[in-house]
Amino acid sequence: MASLITEASLRSRISEFLAAHDPASAGRLAFLRARFDAGLAWVHFPEGLGGLGAGRALQPVVDEAFAAAGAPDNRPGRIGIGLGMAAPTVLAHGTPEQRARWLRPLWTGEEVWCQLFSEPGAGSDLAGLGTRARRDGDDWVLDGQKVWTSMAHVARWAILLARHDPSLPKHAGLTYFVLDMTAPGVEVRPLRQLTGEAEFNEVYLTGVRIPDEHRLGEVGEGWKVAQTTLMNERVSIGGGALPREGGMIGVLAKAWRDNPARRTPGLHDTVMRLWVRAEAARLTGLRVRQQLAAGAPGPDGSAVKLSFATLNQQISAAELDLLGDEGLRRDSWAMGRPEEVDFTGRDPGYRYLRAKGNSIEGGTSEVLRNIIAERVLGLPAEPRVDTRVPWKDLPR
């Protein structure tokens, strides 16, 4: 079906909206809710769910117009997991009631989401997870432990993958839920990371009840639903639109310009190689977004996350090399509890350390290479011993 929304008609909707809702006086939340209800939140979402069923390519038109009008935004840095992963999954697999309940407060930022996938025994091998979901009347009862859960300490909802039947092979025994983080039996403990702070957590689930209407997709379809989440996660990490020298490379370029006395030929070569790689990655991101807007998402998205991780690590390491002992000074080792993930902020030491997580979170770089080799290039999978046996019989 061809979309009826043109850029011109969208612009006139935006001006009408802004005429009726003055960004300066309307109050932040009231303004965001009204923007959602007018279909001007994510324009490619359906009508009634914050969108207009328009082409994705039109989203920048909206975002730029609202920014230019000085309108409050939904602080996307705080709700990255909701926007980037939960929302597309709820949209693709949710019932009409589920979409209506969750998407509006997710987008306005009233409700923060987190992702309860990884467990101590199941990271890369996510399908091996053991958190149990037992049916009890109209509810499910959950027991288990999740780990490395970013932002669980501020989250109201979680997307969660659990095992409803251990006698089935690992992928077949999974079901996908949305968990109320305020439910009895949910315990969130800070997990300090090598940067000193605790952006992520351990989450213990003990006899936690989830109503069946908070199940996403069919019983046993958890793996399929999780694919939607994971695909979106990879595009959302490192996939943002940036100008030349945006992101980590801008920090290094500035350090180079500001420190003529510290320059050496070897570092110069490193800086130029990284500048070129960063620009190539940026232009690839641009092309991937054009493919997405044209409605033909290519596989190039997986290239974006992989190179984002490598580059952030190499660039932040080069910054420390350039700055010498001045670069070793940190602002704090205190165990902060950040409410936003920040890759390029604070001090050079923080940047260097935080970047180490980029090749682990959202699928390790090794796992991404497997995915590219098998799904993009069509190379054969490794022989596997774990996919046909009942989950309960696997070595652990």
């Binding site: 180079w256 320059r263 620009e279 232009l283 080799a373 190379l379």
Partner: protein, 358 residues
């Protein structure tokens, strides 16, 4: 929009037309026969098909002169496909580089002959040139001197020679041309010697840096073509070659290297698309984009060709397998029009990241 990086439907159609023609007229066996024969300047039959049959020699010539009018993106598609086939024809040197240089002067009749494909031309500079050329002395309408290692000049009817006060045209036959035995025999090099050769002023010297910028950008398109053949061919081999009772392509040591290569190729494709789009829209950022493209194009082409040889094992080291044609072309193109290192040095100045404090 100037930075539209996706291929249009017309461009896709052109690509498949050129690829289909090349698979019929330029299989690797005929390229191997060409280099094994040694001696020809290019494959004349293939050139007639590309230039005249498909009418592609005139893509960058204005319509008034019998061409199709500066279709940069289309020319890049053609160059990439010719690279994929390591085709021994002077398309890049003549229909792109020399045509660009000549197009900046006032030479409608010569451009018309280039567009028809009946004439080929070469810019008489060393293949590796990336900055200002050495200028030959000219007086009373004759030029003297030598230029070493010029690409595709052996069969060129016309040589464009940078001289002290401008770019001059010299008849190909008026130069003494000595073929050089080169690493890449699919694009022959020769040394030129001019002894009182009659020369005619055709453009100002500013045409040379302009042509070199175009050369670097479009060479990167060729390199993307070379690399994509190497990747596709290697993947196909790894899927079918069995060792230890399984396809060697299921070994992770190889899979991860090819995944990285694919990422690098994906990026090179995006950079080249950007650089060519920039030429098409008038080139605000042309110098930065050309250097970027030449760096990433050279690196991915050489890496892809080297991986192709390694992952084919013993068969990849034989003369009878096409991998070496790509390895030689890739390495030679990486040196051509400035190696990655030279372009990084240039970029450092262009983007204000100099080594020396100013």
């Amino acid at each position: 929009m100037s930075d539209e990086l996706l291929e249009s439907a017309d461009e896709r159609e052109l690509r498949s037309g050129v690829r289909e023609m090349l698979s019929a007229e330029c299989p690797w066996q005929s390229v191997l026969a060409f280099v094994s024969g040694g001696g020809d300047a290019f494959d004349p039959k293939l050139w007639r098909t590309v230039a005249t049959g498909m009418g592609l020699a005139g893509l960058l010539v204005p319509e008034a002169q019998g061409g199709s009018g500066a279709q940069w993106r289309a020319a890049a598609v053609v160059v990439e496909e010719l690279g994929r086939a390591v085709a021994p024809v002077p398309y890049l040197s003549s229909a792109v580089v020399a045509t660009t240089a000549l197009g900046l002067g006032e030479e409608p009749s010569l451009l018309g002959r280039l567009a028809s494909g009946e004439l080929t031309a070469a810019l008489a500079v060393p293949y590796g040139l990336w900055s200002a050329p050495r200028l030959l002395p000219v007086s009373a309408g004759v030029v003297n001197g030598t230029v070493r290692g010029v690409a595709d000049a052996l069969g060129a009817g016309l040589l464009l020679v940078p001289c002290e006060d401008g770019l001059y045209a010299v008849d190909g036959a008026a130069a003494r041309r000595t073929r050089v035995m080169s690493l890449d025999e699919t694009r022959p090099l020769c040394d030129l010697e001019f002894t009182a050769a009659p020369a005619r002023l055709v453009a100002s010297l500013s045409a040379v840096p302009c042509a070199l910028r175009v050369a670097a950008t479009l060479m990167a398109a060729e390199q993307v073509g070379l690399a994509s053949w190497c990747l596709d061919t290697t993947v196909a081999h790894l899927r079918s070659r069995l060792q230890f009772g399984r396809p060697v392509g299921s070994f992770q040591a190889l899979k991860h290297r090819l995944a990285d290569l694919w990422v690098e190729l994906t990026q090179a494709r995006s950079v080249v698309a950007y650089a060519v789009a920039d030429l098409a829209s008038g080139g605000d950022d042309a110098s930065v984009a050309a250097s970027l493209a030449k760096i990433v194009g050279s690196e991915v082409a050489v890496r892809a060709a080297e991986e192709c040889v390694q992952m084919h094992g013993g068969i990849g080291f034989t003369w009878e397998h096409p991998a070496h044609l790509y390895l030689k072309r890739a390495k030679a193109t990486s040196v051509a029009y400035g190696s990655p290192d030279r372009h990084r040095a240039r970029l450092a100045t262009l983007v204000d990241l100099p080594l020396e404090a100013s």
